[in-house]
Structure formats: C-alpha cells, structure tokens
Amino acid sequence: MLKDVLKTKYHEINIVHEEGKPRQEISSPRICSKCSAPLSEQELIQNYRVCHHCGHHYTLGAWERISLLADEETFREFDSDQVSFNRLDFPEYDAKLERARQESGLPEALVTGTAYIDGYQVVLGVMDSRFMMASMGAVVGEKICRAADRAVELKWPLIIVVASGGARMQEGMVSLLQMAKTSAVIQRLHQAGILYISILTNPTTGGVLASFASLADLMIAEPGALVGFAGPRVIEQTIKHKLPENFQRSEFLLQHGMLDLVVERSRLKEKLSLLLKMHGGKYDTTQV
C-alpha cells in the first residue's frame, strides 16, 4: 500500500519533469555527475539514488527515504495538516510556496510520523530538500517540536533525517526563533532520557545545523554530504581564497570530531537497527 502511495507521488513529480520545468528535479541525470558512468532511472530507484559505479549519493525524496528506513507499511504520518503561510507578507513567498508544493508533491519540507525500523518503534522525521531547500520556517520548526513531544510521550527514540539550506528568510525572525524553539524542545527530550539520532544528508547547513541537527546523542552523515554552518561561497568571499577540496564534507567533519559516523545509504537501516538495539529499543514481534 505504501508503495502505491510512493508511486503516485513520484508519478506526479515525473509529470512535472516531463512538462519541462524540473527546477529541483528528483529525476536522475543520465550520466553520473561524479564519475560520468551511465545511469538509468530504474537502477537509481533500486539503488536508492546512489550511483552503483562510484557510490555518489544523490538527493533522496522524503517518501523514498521513508521506504528505505521504515518497515513496509509501518509509517504513520502525523501533522501533515501543518502548512506554511506568508505571515510577513513577504514579496514572492506565496508563489515560491506554491511552486515548492507542486514540484515536491509535499505540503512542507518535513514529513513526520511513527514507524518501525526492523521492528523497533521510532518517531521519524525526514526533510526534503526539493521543498525550498528544506529551509526552516515556522511549520518545519513546529513539526520538529511536535515529533520530539511525541517521542517523549511514547518513550520511543527520535530519528531525524536532516537536509536544509538553513532558516527560511521569507519568515524573518519567526524562522530564526525556530532554532531556539527546537533546541529548547530537544533539551527536554534529553532530560526525559529519550534517544535522539540525527542523520545529516546533502546539504545540511545554517540554522538547522546550528540547532536541533547538532543536538543529537548520535550524529550520522551520508558520505560526501555538505555539512557546515556558513555556506562555502560566503566563506570564500570572506577569507578571499579557495577552500580545500573536501572542506565541509562529511568525511572532513568526521576527521574534525564533529560526527559519530559516516554511513553509506545502503547500510543505513542496519546501522540504525543495531544502534536502536543497543539502546534497548522495544522489539515488537507482531510487526516482524
């Protein structure tokens, strides 16, 4: 059933693509941008959008990610009725929201719900960079908080798959304050003894990295993901020279002690499963 839902979503997105306006396309390039090997859409879908030649990780949509991590038909979405509006009457924001909704097929940049991962019950949040670079406005902030509330209430671990360009400028200070708000909620989750794992994907930057994404017990990143506070261009302009090759990539962060693990997409679920086991996650046999 969930697979059907997925198909519909991607079907819609593909239609948008065929109409010739693939602004934030999820449809794959024909050749790998990293190693130039030929890529077929079918292979990429099977491989969860990782190049099978060089292992380059392409953007994964929220629902694809959910089908990668959650056991079949176990994801139950909540708070999907939370939708952004142009609270500051900011120029062009309405149009941008509308376009993001159409192109991603999502109401907002974050999908949250409960799920099972190899039978372990979790609260799962997944961000989708096709929706306005998954910038954090009031709705993304509020949904993160509600997901954390739910995790505390159910005493289930919280897993957030992060991607973000940072705060959503069109919502001004309301968006900046979501950094403080989500940090405050995560503080309560830690006090309640709930496990929180963040999985950083390409790209995770700005105010999202500088708040809830960095406050997890365990921080995992996908290989080659851009992870940093300031954007590389801003840094280059400030310091006026070129940045090193792997600067702000997952491996760079691992080397500098900012992450626990870098895990390939194909092994993400088994790693999570093991970590959940080691934190005494409930094993619900009826779900296996």
Binding site: L88, E92, V139, E171, G172, M173, M179, A180, K181, A184
Partner: protein
C-alpha cells in the same frame, strides 16, 4: 545608489555651519546675534526630531551599525558599580568578539555576556568586527553553567553581524557551539535578560538571546539575514536593501508586534550613539524592573517561562 552609511546628519550640516559662523562673528565683533542663533538652533532641533521620529527600517539598520553606537562594554561600565572580565573557553582559546564578565548591578552579582565590536580599525581587527568563533560560544556556555551554579542572573548584550564564516570556525564546530549555547540558555535555571543594543545578526546573535525578556533599543534591529544578503540571495539584486529591511520586519517595534521582543526602550533624539547617558538610564530602569519580576520566580518557573514563550512563536493554525 542605496545609502550605505548613516549620514542624514549631513542634511543639516549647512545649518550647523551657519550657527558656528554666527557664533564666531558675534564673539569677534562683539555683537548680539543670540536671537538669530537660537532661531537656527531651534530649526535644526525640529528637523532632527522629525527625522528621528520617522526613521525607516533601513535607516535604523544603518544607525544600529553606527561606529559610535555604544556596545556591551560601555553598558557594563555604566550599569555595574564594579565588574571584572573573565576569559577563555578552557578548550581552545579566548574569543575577543565576546566579552564575558562578572559584575555588581545595584548590589546584585550578575553574569554579563555580550558581543564586542571595535571603534576603530585596530580594535575591529582585534575583536573580529564582533563576529565570534566557536570558542566564543563555548565561553558563553561555560559561564552560563557557572551562573546557574551560583544562582546569578544573566544579562546579555547583542550586537553582531553574525557568527564568523571561516575555515577555523567550521573546523571547530561553529554550528555545534551555537546549538549548545541555544540549548543551555533554554534550560537555564536563573533569570536571563537580553538587550539588543545594535545589530542582531542571525544565529550568531540568537545564541546569546534565548531569554526570559528580550529588550530592544528602539534603533536596534534583529534579523535572520542582513537586508543586503536578503536582497542578493533572494532577488540577485543588491539594490533592494531598503525594501528588504522593511519586508523582513526587523525593527524593535516590528518584533514587539510579532511577540519576539518584550519591550522597546525608546532612544532619545540623536539615538544611543549621541545620547548614551539618557539611553543607559532608561535601560537601567527597565533592567531593574524586569530583574525584580524574574527574581520572584522559582528556577522551574523561569525555565517554563522561556519555554512557553518559545513554543508560542510561529504557532500555525490547524487547517480545518
């Protein structure tokens, strides 16, 4: 060309000059020109008053960055009978872009934290133009925890273009350091009052501003991104800064209206940069009053007060 510097004072430079000339003349020739001088002075006063009462958001941005604008150090010196600066994060270094101190405010020991900018090039280089590195935020976290241990209220002073974007800052975990400051402030069991004195720039400013009360000087601003960045990132056009300053709702009154600022401290004509003592008096009164209120709360109430306020920001109506 968009105005980049706060130079509206130049609009009445002519008047100022005339007053000076007349004063000189009256002294030289020993004639009484006091009526004429008084008239011109009055005229100038009216022009300035009218101007300061109707500053546009962009003009307030420029004023908030004025090199003569007083910052954390001046306010600490003025507000505390005695104070002592404390240094270092105990991990890497001592970030000069953040001043940390202990002080006595009306006899009450307080922890003081703030961004520090320079008044000249040498100082600006030393203080990195008020842009902190991770060690600055880690110094903040260290002293917040200490404030809690000793039950000391915390006063913070906000004035920064933002956290520094550089290689070392990224290597040492700028984002992580900011997130830890946010989380530590959120759960702190002592009163926290933040005063936005100049420009509040993004996450680097917010890291010192998760407070029970946010007080904003009337010519200070607090923004997610500078109007310049907004204009060039969103519209690829550097000339829309005035529009962006207005649209982003970054002035003290805008933020009071949005429920983010709790109080606006009205600066006298001339602003805090020209009228420091009068501004500091108003701030002192407000700090005393707010601190008194917060000191009546239990540690749990203080945490809850901050939490409830944060949770209410950006509440979204359910789709029916």
């Amino acid at each position: 060309m968009t105005q980049r510097k706060f130079d509206f004072e130049s609009q009445y430079q002519g008047l100022k000059q005339k007053i000076a000339d007349l004063t000189e003349e009256s002294q030289l020739r020993n004639i009484d020109l006091s009526d004429e001088i008084a008239m011109l002075e009055n005229k100038m006063k009216k022009i300035r008053e009218a101007k300061y009462l109707n500053l546009s958001p962009w003009e307030r941005v420029l004023l908030s960055r004025h090199p003569d604008r007083p910052g954390a150090v001046q306010y600490i010196e003025r507000l505390c009978s005695e104070w002592i600066e404390l240094h270092g994060d105990r991990l890497f270094g001592d970030d000069q872009a953040i001043i940390a101190a202990l002080g006595l405010f009306h006899g009450q020991p307080v922890t003081l934290l703030g961004h520090r900018k320079g008044k000249n090039t040498a100082d600006n280089l030393r203080y990195n133009f008020g842009m902190p590195h991770p060690e600055g935020y880690r110094k903040v976290v260290r002293l917040l925890q200490q404030a809690e241990k000793f039950g000391r209220p915390v006063l913070t002073f906000i004035d920064t273009p933002g956290a520094f974007p550089g290689i070392g800052a990224e290597e040492r975990g700028q984002a992580l350091a900011i997130s830890q400051a946010l989380m530590t402030l959120a759960g702190l069991k002592v009163p926290v009052i933040s005063v936005v004195t100049g420009e509040g720039g993004s996450g680097g400013a917010l890291a010192l501003a998760v407070a029970n009360r946010i007080l904003m000087l009337s010519n200070s601003v607090f923004a997610v991104t500078s109007p310049e960045s907004c204009s060039s990132i969103l519209f690829k056009d550097p000339n829309r800064v005035e529009e962006m300053a207005a649209a982003s709702k970054i002035t003290a009154n805008d933020l009071l209206h949005l429920g983010i600022a709790d109080e606006v401290i009205e600066e006298p004509v001339g602003g805090a940069n020209e009228e420091f003592e009068a501004t500091a008096c108003l701030l002192e009164e407000s700090l005393q009053r707010n601190l008194r209120e917060l000191q009546e709360m239990s540690p749990e109430q203080l945490v809850e007060d901050r939490y409830t306020k944060l949770r209410s920001i950006g509440m979204v109506a359910e789709k029916s």
